[in-house]
Symmetry: C2
Subunit: 356 residues, 2 copies
């Protein structure tokens, strides 16, 4: 999967003689190259990937045939000069939201005649619209996470620590072929669930408590992301009522989501449902975020987002309530925005499951 | 563990009115704050940590009492202005090897009267000299990795895939309390071992082959890192000879390592041993790297390094040979440089273990 022709369009849209792509997820998106060290140079008369000797064969196999691969032994930036890749360029666009001040200074010292044009979010929106292959890749990654959750319902039990559950979640993702986790799993029981970004502790799962489980992996470079909240033993009435409210909010958002909608309007759908239950103050984060080669990417779905949601965007829908010192609940699916609605890539049950 | 007074010394040594620390491992090193979002401002008359609402209680508990904690709801940089933290400052040092061009530009727009002084490696050398507590933390992290390796010798067997072995390694680290892995484990069997940075594949471990296993975790924020190479079944004579050469090279480096030595001289000790066996061309990377709050940090131990090794530096010693299409071998320990030699923090056996 690569998007070289889209990326080459940047030469015209930014009116430059060369484009430098340095942010690794964008290098992969543009070229298909999966290595951890790479620099892309786009010119009117050619496209170049610079990397190091570790990736000699792999780079050549992965990138489109029309790209030239340059193996550099002395750092990638030196290759810009040594290989003459900016020859004749007057104006060069670069990713100013990713390039450090030192690197920019080094480029200026190396190429005193070049005007380096800073561009924020050079590929942010373009990479936010997923191709069918990319959607399939995210769905395949999510299937692993769904399988792990399905199994988890049979092995989860009171007395396990949050850390033990997290270790088991990682293990089962890896055994199913995940490349790595897309983030460290969150397993937050009882009052820990009230911290939206809790880290697993030595606390044991206890009867009468809720557990928030947030997990995902990378497969073929694309991320999955899902949260479920389960009850250990018998949940109390407040827990059941809050769970029902979060689920109602999530399902309302799923029902309304469609391409062309503003992200803040979609956030409001869920937030309004929680408000009708007096729980909007307990929903302390945005409704969701884009997912792709990065676990968090554009677009942001939140109250303050100014984005519209394009067809092909893949985003999480994850309302939650966090009651300090008591418990937390979050339910998260990933969806694809389509013209007439959305398609849910998540297959796991959302009934409040009881673990005995 | 914090190093606030050392960091405050930067105000004088760089002749500035304020120092901004933004690189997260350096934020932790300076203040003890373990959150993922933080900005430190050091002034003559005070020290400040800016973070967000997720870390309200945690930040206050973790940082030294003399530090002021600022909880920002609208991004950390806006707090610099809103809380008046650069008031009266004429010259402000920042980490130009970590700050993006966009962030630097934003600061310039916010503070038109301030001269922002770029500093590369602001805390690189200071953080490279470990305190006793930090060395203890690295040793504790390495003990987990040693235990996992000791167990691995009893469960490793032919027929497991590299990915399965990697999953088991992660699982056992996590069960023993590791916070996370310090990098994705490398499990590289047969010809895959000839790639120094191989990723685990679906290839099964086979009789008569070597397996390179490189793994480490974080515990209390500090990294471990160890490589061992084991034989599945009977290794052939070439494998045994190459293993003996790598072990001889590693032991020679351990015997010579001491504070004050130049890093390139230490690299040469191992490289010369391999050369005496005709294997120096097969040793395609540097001898080692610093380890601490980051898995790779200063100092670099390599042919081209211009660093001297200070007392208290913790570095890996990891010679290897990589024979394309055939096999690879690497043996890696972590050591502390001391005045009279070095102390090895790694406890695992280095005999060539045979797995049947």
């Amino acid at each position: 999967m690569h998007h070289l022709s889209t990326a080459r369009g940047l030469l015209d849209s930014h009116d430059v003689d060369a484009v430098l792509i340095t942010f690794i997820p964008n290098v992969r998106w543009t070229t298909g190259f999966t290595g951890s060290n790479g620099l892309v140079v786009l010119r009117d008369d050619g496209a170049h990937l610079l990397t190091d000797g570790r990736y000699r064969d792999q780079a050549r196999e992965e990138v489109p045939g029309e790209m030239e691969v340059h193996i550099m032994s002395n750092g990638l930036d030196s290759g810009l000069a040594d290989e003459g890749l900016l020859a004749g360029a007057k104006r060069v666009a670069f990713q100013s939201d990713h390039v450090t001040v030192d690197r920019r200074t080094r480029w200026g010292d190396m190429f005193t005649d070049v005007e380096f044009a800073p561009v924020s979010g050079l590929l942010t929106h373009a990479a936010g619209v997923k191709s069918r292959d990319e959607i399939d890749a995210i769905a395949a990654s999510q299937r692993i996470t769904d399988e792990v959750f399905d199994e988890l319902l049979s092995w989860l039990r009171p007395g396990l620590t949050e850390k033990e559950v997290a270790a088991e979640i990682v293990y089962r993702h890896m055994k199913k072929g995940a490349e790595k986790m897309s983030f460290d799993p969150i397993v937050a029981s009882g009052p820990n669930g009230a911290l939206p970004h809790a880290r697993p502790t030595a606390r044991t799962l206890r009867d009468g408590e809720l557990v928030v489980i947030d997990m995902g992996c990378f497969l073929n470079g694309y991320a999955s992301d899902m949260t479920r909240t389960v009850a250990i033993g018998e949940p109390d009435d407040d827990m059941e009522a809050a769970y029902a409210a979060v689920l109602e909010a999530q399902e309302a958002a799923l029902a309304e989501a469609r391409a062309g909608m503003s992200a803040s309007d979609l956030d409001a759908v869920a937030r309004d449902v929680l408000a009708s239950h007096g729980l909007d103050d307990a929903f302390s984060h945005g409704l969701g975020h884009g997912v792709g080669l990065q676990i968090h990417e554009w677009p942001r779905v939140s109250r303050t987002s100014e984005d519209d949601l394009p067809a092909g965007a893949v985003v999480t829908i994850e309302p939650g309530v966090y009651l300090n010192g008591r418990f937390g609940i979050r339910i998260e699916d990933i969806i694809v925005l389509e013209e007439e609605g959305c398609r849910n890539l998540t297959g796991s049950t959302k009934s409040l499951t009881r673990i005995d």
